[in-house]
């Protein structure tokens, strides 16, 4: 009875997306202003395994292209650069957040509305892929 209860409870919990030892949590896509050709997705990716994993790419359903991207503030100038690969050491979490690493979503097929979900597929160097559901929501700005 007890293992069954645990299993039922586990199924009821909102689980983060995982593939083996890789876990994605907190995925979201801020609602984008009308008509923009590029916006962004964010999440946190944790390697709970014992080997370093290498994130090498991303696809996004409903977009012509998606890239791993990094914003930097270099001497008060906002710059962006494409990121080819990100190594995630065992136990390490990589945070995609505004003003830092982000998934650039380019040329949306349709305007995203609050409550939509963007399906991201993360690709890793060993051939693994990880599907991530990123809900579209209004980003709250506050202190």
């Amino acid at each position: 009875m007890k293992p069954l209860a645990v299993l039922v409870l586990a199924l009821m919990m909102p689980l983060p997306t995982s593939a083996g030892d890789l876990v994605v949590s907190g995925a979201f896509v801020p609602m984008a202003p009308p008509g923009v050709m590029a916006h962004a997705a964010y999440f946190q990716l944790t390697n709970d395994g014992t080997e370093t994993r290498r994130l090498i790419g991303v696809r996004a359903e409903g977009y012509a292209m998606a890239h791993l991207h990094r914003s930097d503030d270099m001497g008060d100038v906002a710059t962006m650069s494409a990121v080819d690969a990100i190594d995630i050491a065992p136990g390490q979490s990589i945070v995609f957040a505004p003003g830092r690493l982000h998934v650039m979503l380019m040329h949306p097929a349709a305007m995203q509305a609050e409550g939509n979900t963007v399906l991201l597929t993360l690709s890793f160097a060993n051939g693994d892929t990880l599907a991530v559901q990123a809900p579209v929501r209004r980003l709250r700005h506050g202190s």
Binding site: A78, T79, M80, A97, S143
Partner: protein
Amino acid sequence: MRRLAILLSLIAAPLMAQVQGVELDEPVALPAFHLDNDMGETLDKVALTGRWTLVMFGFLSCPDVCPFTLGNLEAAVAETSMRVRPDNVPQVVFVSVDPARDAGTVSDYARYFHPDFRGFTGTRDQIDTLIEATDSFYRLMKPDASGYYEVQHSSAVSVIAPDGTLRAKLQPPFDPGATAEFLARLQIAYRRSLNQ
């Protein structure tokens, strides 16, 4: 435990970022310039006098920094409105440095973040005039195979006082509460300087 540490660092980061703005040693008068938008509105030297204005430079295809900054400015202005008189609440102006792609939608873009935010762009020389006057910077990068290009631009936001002079720069991360506090103090210093 590790996740807790990450969570705590995310919460603590905005609190640790104390410097939200820098006041200029000497106010800088703005030269004549002329920008407009798809609504037929004009932004010039006259539009920047008589009230406080925050000017941000950017481009609409900016996936990450520009929308985040405008969202933070919206929250910062809301916070400022609780600290200053209604006629001292700054207007927010977004200036696209990428008129080729943005001229048709720049006002819609700005209004998305707040109905009172206004977006403008213009000819290259007029954009450059305002860029130089505010000691700002931008550069259009080389297009990729699809023709898409990125734009590097100043992340700082220029603060224009009611006398039409550049008085300060706001800096990332634009924490709304700390930015509002900086603006409220700047306005007190400004009024003092006028009474001297």
